[in-house]
Symmetry: D2
Subunit: 362 residues, 4 copies
């Protein structure tokens, strides 16, 4: 059940402290020269850095073990493997259930046979191969003039500007993509980082919201009902650990408006039909309308905190308390944002290829 | 792309003003005696009634044309068909793009060949067979002691109570399910209906939020990543027309909390591991933890309004304005809520059957 | 499990003596004007006729209940329904297990809840909607210059000529397709029909072999391993009741040759790479090589015979004997051949659309 | 498109002379202790040995890089990797199209970007991970009392005995499974090997037929139409390189019989319904009837031969001739047989798990 995709089928695998993690990407056309600099840049952005992330150091050195020959994809399954290196399994135990982690649920599901070290298959680390998938997807989407980017919309109660304040989306998205801590209002960075550091000092953690834009997708992609753009995107976004909400366009706040305020009226701009507002987030009836696709994703506060928490020892079935000593992220919003971008890129590629096949890819 | 499911595969079909709408439900075990009274009750609840809904009258008379013999399912595809009867196609035209409807996107996707009458395949009417699917799913879930229900959490800026104020969820859910306008706080009904009627008078519309609870799902169901409970539910929820947001547990508001506030601490209750809070909405790592699964769904204001709106005539490619004269719902929250329940029921059944197969079904 | 397809997804339904049988065809592009004359012709060919088939008369009057509007496909699910009319259920009972029918296996699988009348979902009648699917597929394949046809290669021990005796495959296939009893050697028809009639007189039945050619598929379609052309075709061919064997090119008899005899040597014909022989049946590594794709399908003798047979009464669990009195086909090869063509057409369309999407379809 | 499975999803990858080959097996339950001795034994059997196979020596040293912890499966994707070691790429070139290999078709499909070394993804070597999959499947099937085995039914025109000559299938299958050159009639081994060696001396090759039995599958598994046992098995069998035909039970020769001869009459044996003959190969209506499932698979002569062959140089588009100098198998029937067993085992497991889920697995 770690598989997805009808057009570009993927298979994710690995545990945080096992031998390796990785992904197989199926059905990529032959003859694509991968942009490794771009992949490296995306991996760099997700990697923990400075004092606002875990001190665990992973170089994310990936190796392509099939599907790539003489500098081009071969058309057969592309398999990417990352060996785990900087693991300290002794920091972890599965005796004590960490609140709001998957310790309990995986223990029940897998009858105690789960590889619990470093959260095993449930670790955020398993999203690393997804970032590679996203970088490859982006490279192909570029051929369609599609660019995808996100900003940290909020951390705890601090908020960034909105996308809607801006005119030139393309250059904004490029700027966002060049940063490992992307925001629209550069002045907010200090507050964001202070909020994270304060949580860290308090042995606590914080969450936040990510806003994403898919720019350049022509109208007519997607489907009604079970393969709507929203369904496909939300399916993939909710696969990312720590995501608790997804909304498109105005999302939950559209429920506060009247129809006359919420509806996106049409007009003609240079012989193209556009909408003046974009409360729908670029999607109607599950299908793109040519406006930017926008959505927000809620990231819960990191579940690992140093503060003592009440819990249960599942072996002895006794209540107890727990203070986590391992290397933790006081916030993961600024790291997950790059995974969200990756999922958005892959979802967009999948949506296009379901309609058009692969022959448009150079 | 109107198909879904790996265990219970479904195929939805039909257009609002075509011959018929319906659904095929595949892989239901043989020997199930369908509870038609329950199906009828669910259909009744979704059907437009009184002055807060469209005057279009559909009896939703469905016919099972395969897979049911001698009062039991046969194990082969169950096909359910509803003929369309009270249709007035002349109220509609596809010359003028109705804002925030699928007129434009379907026109582009289908090159003008779409059946646009009454929104065609994009009509809320196509969700009727989903309500039947939900009723059948519920009947099976009952065998596992699972009950699912929703309340209208808000209409525009009026808000109902929260689930969390209550102790006895099971009886609450049963009460909610007995109503076609389910709320936790009965006193709110008047305000809700007034809000809807005021919109109607103003030739406008309103939206709202639906909160849903899945009660009784044991811990250990679901999967990490691409078949997480959240992914499966969100996929189906976002398939329902007018849904713009989905959040689990505390959802977007969890981002305002610290980890120490957000985390659900474990305790032991009668030899069972539970969490004191349920901010996670009953899911960790994509897997059920035995607590009630809770989520909210944002429903946008009905796109059809009588007020004049600016739009484009796609044939002449001229800007124009449009006042919709057809029979419209000033709000659909109280109708969609029954579809949301149906999707939650089907999703839960699908999640269980993917793990356990079908042999548990009597 | 009555679903198939990743590109063009289908869902087959119905029982022989139930209300209706039919099919949903998903993902067909909008704007296709169906060639009803061709559909009717294909249905005509499969329909029982004259004294060599069952006297059951079905007009196969189908109705499109969704996905077709103003003489064109709409792009949303195309649902086709055929009502059952000339049914005589009293000819059937499920007390006695008919040898080599699905009576016993369906009874076990469905715990006695199967609709056993006229073989229910296991009836050859359920292939009627597949013939419509095939006719629609053919219409699209024609745009790629692909033509598919079959001849009755053998009935019992009487054999037709081979495809390989001929030069002009296209005209041959057209001739075959114009006939409801297609053979290469017209002189064989008499022997074939005599063999069938002799079986009928003896209250017995006969089977035979069908040879099929897919002409005009360019090289490069298909895939290695699990989506090979052979896998896709065989999957669908073995879905057809009564099929017991499938072989490509020289098939089983290639095992009698040396590699030097079996290999298809390449040469250049008018700047195109071709093979002098076609023992591989147009496929290497699961991928088309541009030569005609050829395969044979073995059809067992009709299981329903009038002769007395030993069997078991599954209710009393006693051994007994059984003489079938219903209306039976002494042979179905000449009827199944049109279903085999249909499956070949749909499979070819599916293989193409998986690679290229749908945008090539006019 | 190198993926398969709805219950146990697999993803095969790798090229013959690339870095590695391998497989991901998804959805295996947690808590299975793999029987490595059995895996090794199966790999040993497939491996080239003695003078009747290629001298290429591969140790098939596999490594589990995810999904296995503390000697048990974890329930998350099980990833198995085999590094390629004894590769001599200079023996190969893609200038000259080897007749009846995938050189031409892969060249067209992948636009010349295929990894052609040692046949790349089309190499028989890629079936090695399938043998591991088969061994794991067998281990689980054993819990259901299911045993699967095959014998070399023929090599060229030399034929082994039939299964039907024997009474005690279980011990026969065990004996077959203990051998890397399994036959029913031990006296035939000498003729078989002589036939192979003669082909080798003549720089030629031979093919043959494999007969397989699945013993112990209870009645009621499988489905009508698109998930019939035949469809599922044939899909997987035709995925194996060099397979040109698949037939169940009497297969093609059943077409020579009358219905009265072909039908399998029922009787009662010890309160169980059985059939006296098994011409149907244990399947009716796509569903198991409790009798042994039997099928035959045709394996073409190895395409690689030392004799000169006419071909085309695809770069210069000139006709030429080619004598293959690399290390080749004069026959692969005795090696492929172990892959056929593996596919049969996986298919059976998949068929069971689609019906029953995974909870029966210990």
């Amino acid at each position: 059940m770690s598989t997805f995709g009808k057009a570009i089928e993927i298979n994710l695998f690995g545990e945080s402290h096992g031998d390796s993690i990785g992904i197989i990407i199926n059905n990529l056309p032959a003859g694509i020269k991968l942009d490794f600099a771009n992949i490296d840049h995306e991996l760099y952005k997700r990697r923990p850095k400075s004092n606002i992330s875990t001190p665990r150091q992973e170089k994310d050195e990936y190796k392509i073990i099939s599907g790539y020959y003489n500098d081009y994809t071969t058309g057969t399954p592309l398999t990417i493997v990352i060996e785990n290196k900087d693991t300290r399994s002794k920091d972890y135990s599965n005796d004590f259930l960490r609140p709001s982690h998957a310790d309990f649920t995986s223990h029940v599901k897998y009858n105690g046979f789960e590889d619990y070290r470093g959260s095993g298959h449930f670790s955020g680390r398993i999203t690393t191969p997804l970032v590679i998938l996203g970088a490859i997807s982006n490279q192909l989407l570029k051929q369609k003039g599609i660019i995808i980017g996100s900003h940290i919309d909020s951390i705890k109660d601090i908020e960034d500007n909105e996308f809607s304040d801006y005119k030139s989306f393309e250059s904004i998205l490029k700027t966002l993509n060049s940063s490992d801590f992307p925001v629209l209002n550069e002045n907010i960075v200090k507050s964001y980082k202070e909020t994270i550091l304060r949580a860290k000092e308090n042995k606590n953690s914080v969450g936040g919201i990510i806003e994403t834009m898919i720019l350049g997708l022509n109208p007519g992609y997607g489907n009604p009902f079970f393969n709507s753009i929203e369904s496909t995107l939300a399916h993939l976004l909710f696969s990312v650990p720590a995501v608790k909400g997804v909304e498109f366009g105005k999302g939950f706040s559209i429920t506060k408006l009247c129809g006359s305020e919420a509806n996106d009226e049409f007009y003609i701009d240079n012989n193209t039909i556009k909408t003046r507002t974009n409360n729908s987030g670029g999607i109607q009836g599950g299908i793109s309308n040519g406006m930017p696709i926008t959505f927000k994703t809620a990231i819960k506060p990191t579940a690992s905190i140093g503060l003592p928490q009440k819990t249960v020892n599942i072996d002895t079935m006794e209540e107890t308390s727990l203070s986590l000593l391992g290397r933790h992220d006081p916030a993961i919003v600024h790291r997950v944002i790059h995974v969200i971008n990756a999922m958005a890129s892959y979802a967009t590629l999948e949506i296009i290829c379901r309609n058009e096949g692969f022959s448009w890819i150079k």
